[in-house]
């Protein structure tokens, strides 16, 4: 059942560029898709370990910067008179470095998350993102600071025997984002259903019990943070090579808020949640643009967010799934009573 829905959804998403000819909408889908990947990674942390990171954009931004700098090259002086000079490398290597660098940062934040929880963890992550933003803003020699990194090359896929394929068109980028999203989705799904996933959930539900049955808290939280950050870094890399310019504003708090909205409205702890929430809140601004004034669009955006939380407090996917199963089981119960068999469904 679930696998059928998943395959249908993927097929539907894969067919989009074949019938949607409007480049503007395709562009909106690509940027939304990139943020959905970020939201999925956030969900791994928030939905399955219960740790709310409000600095998640830091990993995304670090991924974007590392990938851009790898493919653009840099020449930077370090304390003690050393210079690091780096020649431009292919963007695909940038993607790999982005994943590694973001994952490494995730490791440190993960260590921290063992010490501080709840509201404190929220603030630590906000602070972390702000510090990273300020470094990106002020380390002008490396990041060009507010002058922005420009002319970032598009991603090129090495095709053995055929040279390279540079992904320039919307359709190519759409499929690239879709494939990366799919890989991230499958990775998270596999992780959640593994022994490790059970450990994470056990930890979230009852930490004392989880510890007593031998779950290594630090290791579990750290690993979740590393994987989550690495996926966010991959999303950041896609962003850098698609938009082709990044400046420190990529670390803006509103970008984290966008991802959190995608996760919680869609349903945290549900694999499909961030995808559904992400598509709604990624495309909502596109839908609102032609029908109301710019300020009103933001008011409506905030209003829709509040409305979803009031009507479906657990998020769209879990709430709807629950309603669906309830209806099904109640019809089943009805059928059973009609045939005269007294049994509780």
């Amino acid at each position: 059942m679930r696998i059928v829905v998943t395959i249908l959804a993927v097929a539907a998403l894969a067919s989009v560029p074949l019938w949607l000819r409007d480049p503007y909408l395709l562009n909106a889908l690509i940027t939304t898709g990139i943020f959905v990947i970020g939201a999925m990674s956030l969900n791994l942390l928030l939905g399955f370990t219960g740790q709310l990171s409000l600095g998640h954009i830091a990993f995304f931004g670090i991924g974007a910067y590392v990938s851009a700098l790898t493919s653009l090259g840099f020449d930077v002086g370090l304390p003690g008179g050393f210079r690091v000079v780096h020649e431009p490398w292919p963007p695909i290597i940038g993607l790999v470095f982005a994943i590694l660098a973001a994952g490494l940062c995730g490791y440190f934040v993960g260590l921290l998350s063992f010490r501080v929880r709840g509201a404190y963890f929220v603030i630590v992550t906000i602070s972390f993102a702000e510090v990273v933003r300020l470094v990106a803003l002020n380390w002008v020699e490396l990041t060009q600071g507010p002058l922005a990194l420009t002319n970032i090359p598009s991603i090129a896929l090495p095709l053995p025997g055929f040279g390279e394929l540079t992904l320039r068109t919307k359709m190519q980028n759409y499929y690239l984002v879709l494939v990366v999203a799919l890989i991230a989705y499958l990775l998270i799904a596999r992780l959640v259903r593994s022994h490790f996933g059970r450990a994470m959930r056990g930890l979230m539900e009852n930490e004392t019990l989880a510890v007593s049955v031998g779950i290594d808290v630090t290791r579990t939280l750290t690993l979740a943070a590393v994987i989550s950050a690495a996926i966010a870094g991959a999303a950041g890399s896609l962003y850098a090579h698609y938009i082709r310019i990044i400046d420190p504003e990529v670390f803006a708090f509103i970008n984290t808020v966008t991802m959190v909205i995608m996760v919680i409205s869609g349903g945290k702890g549900s694999l499909a949640g961030p995808v559904v929430g992400g598509l709604i809140f990624g495309l909502l601004p596109v839908a609102l643009r032609p029908v109301m004034a710019p300020e009103a669009q933001w008011i409506a955006y905030g209003g829709v967010l509040m409305a979803i939380l009031f009507v479906l407090p657990r998020g769209i996917v879990p709430s709807l799934a629950q309603r669906l199963t309830k209806r099904r089981s109640s019809t089943a119960a009805l059928a059973l009573t009609e045939t005269g068999i007294e049994e509780r469904a």
Binding site: G145, P146, R244, L284, E295, Q297
Partner: protein
């Protein structure tokens, strides 16, 4: 709830898909400006100026016998959105030319889209040098990059007898670029550069930076930022008893707003500006300036907005002139025509010169730069 959302989505989709085909009776110009977010105030001013230009042109019969229609979109002060908006304007609304996108990072984000769809854009505000030096032949800029401003200031520095200057600049491309270009120019003139202090875009308290500057041994401070922070700096400098000559750059000063809000604290400050709405007769095009100012006041906008909005007015007139010259509303023809136009802007002749790598040069116009001084709550032109 979900159904309502779906409905909104469908309507939007329909508008996006079919909206672009209607209205062949008008010639569209895309306007990509920040109307919400951090730069909302400035973006709105520029759009208001643009509307005055469009109404004026239409009242005189439009271009090529058709009325011009501004398609105005909000880029939310966000580079990702600025790129998306450019995409929408070009592909859905089918505009043959754009104006935008205020901030340099917003403009830089739009630039790959211009290459992709081969559509020209008139850049009205952005100051980053990168915009015209990275080889994007679809960029035509009417605002001065900081290097041009520094070059214009070069003739004035001797008369001001500067010896040592500190900088206090906004920490973005504009402020950093100004500090860099002005330092270079001043070093050539034998002027010593002291502190270079920065402030964050949204910062409200600059006392720490100003205290540091107060204790330095320079006699002049060059300040670059938008009007709100300038007002705060003048007030806070006065409160700290900072008695140095302050010169602001960048042309976004709105001296009237500074006088209204900073009061006596603004007295004695000097400003490098690109437009003189106080002295219409001294501008290169007095007739147009008078018309613009009268119209601006008639529409009930604050006079202080003039120094920002005139760029929107000039930007649209530039685009319209190019369409007229091209003889047809097509991107390639407009791009070619932009090289040939010569119109009297509110701050000098708008003529594009080549800038950037050979073969794919961007266009850069050279606007005038003026030095004004505030004395007893009034704007005076510095004649040097």
């Amino acid at each position: 709830m979900t159904r309502a959302l779906g409905l909104v989505g469908t309507i939007a989709l329909a508008t996006a898909l079919f909206g672009g085909t209607a209205g062949a009776q008008t010639i569209k110009i895309g306007v990509n400006e920040p109307l919400t977010g951090a730069f909302a105030a400035s973006g709105t001013y520029v759009v208001n100026g643009a509307k005055i230009a469009a109404d004026e042109i239409n009242a005189k019969g439009g271009v090529l016998g058709k009325k011009i229609e501004l398609v105005i979109e909000d880029n939310k002060s966000n580079p990702t959105e600025a790129a998306a908006v450019a995409e929408k304007l070009i592909t859905s609304d089918k505009v043959p030319v754009l104006m935008g996108a205020w901030g340099s990072s917003l403009t830089l984000a739009v630039m790959p889209k211009l290459m992709e769809y081969e559509t020209p854009m008139v850049v009205e505000t952005s100051s980053s040098g990168k915009i015209t030096t990275t080889g994007n032949p679809f960029i035509f800029r009417i605002s001065p990059p900081s290097a041009v401003e520094a070059a214009a200031f070069k003739g004035i520095v001797d008369k001001l007898a500067l010896k040592k200057v500190d900088f206090l600049v906004i920490n973005n491309d504009w402020g950093r670029g100004t500090a860099e270009d002005f330092s270079k120019m001043m070093k050539d003139k034998g002027i010593t550069i002291g502190l270079v202090e920065t402030m964050d875009q949204g910062a409200q308290d600059m006392s720490a930076q100003l205290s540091k500057i107060k204790s330095s041994d320079s006699e002049t401070v060059i300040v670059t930022t938008a009007v709100d922070q300038l007002t705060l700096i003048f007030k806070q400098a006065a409160a700290l008893g900072l008695k140095k000559r302050i010169i602001t750059t960048g042309g976004s000063q709105n001296p009237d707003q500074i006088i209204a809000q900073a009061g006596a604290a603004a007295n004695g400050t000097m400003h490098l500006t690109t437009f003189l709405p106080w002295f219409p007769d001294k501008t290169p095009n007095p007739e147009a300036t008078n018309y613009f100012i009268t119209e601006w006041k008639k529409r009930g906008f604050e006079f202080a907005g003039c120094t920002e909005s005139f760029r929107g007015y000039d930007g649209i007139r530039t685009a319209a002139a190019a369409i007229e010259k091209a003889g047809k509303a097509e991107p390639a023809a407009i791009k070619a025509a932009l090289w040939d136009i010569n119109i009297k802007g509110l701050n000098g002749d708008i003529v594009f010169r080549k800038s950037g790598p050979e073969g794919k040069e961007s266009g850069q116009s050279q606007p005038n730069v003026y030095l004004i001084e505030i004395n007893d709550g009034k704007v005076e032109m510095k004649t040097l």
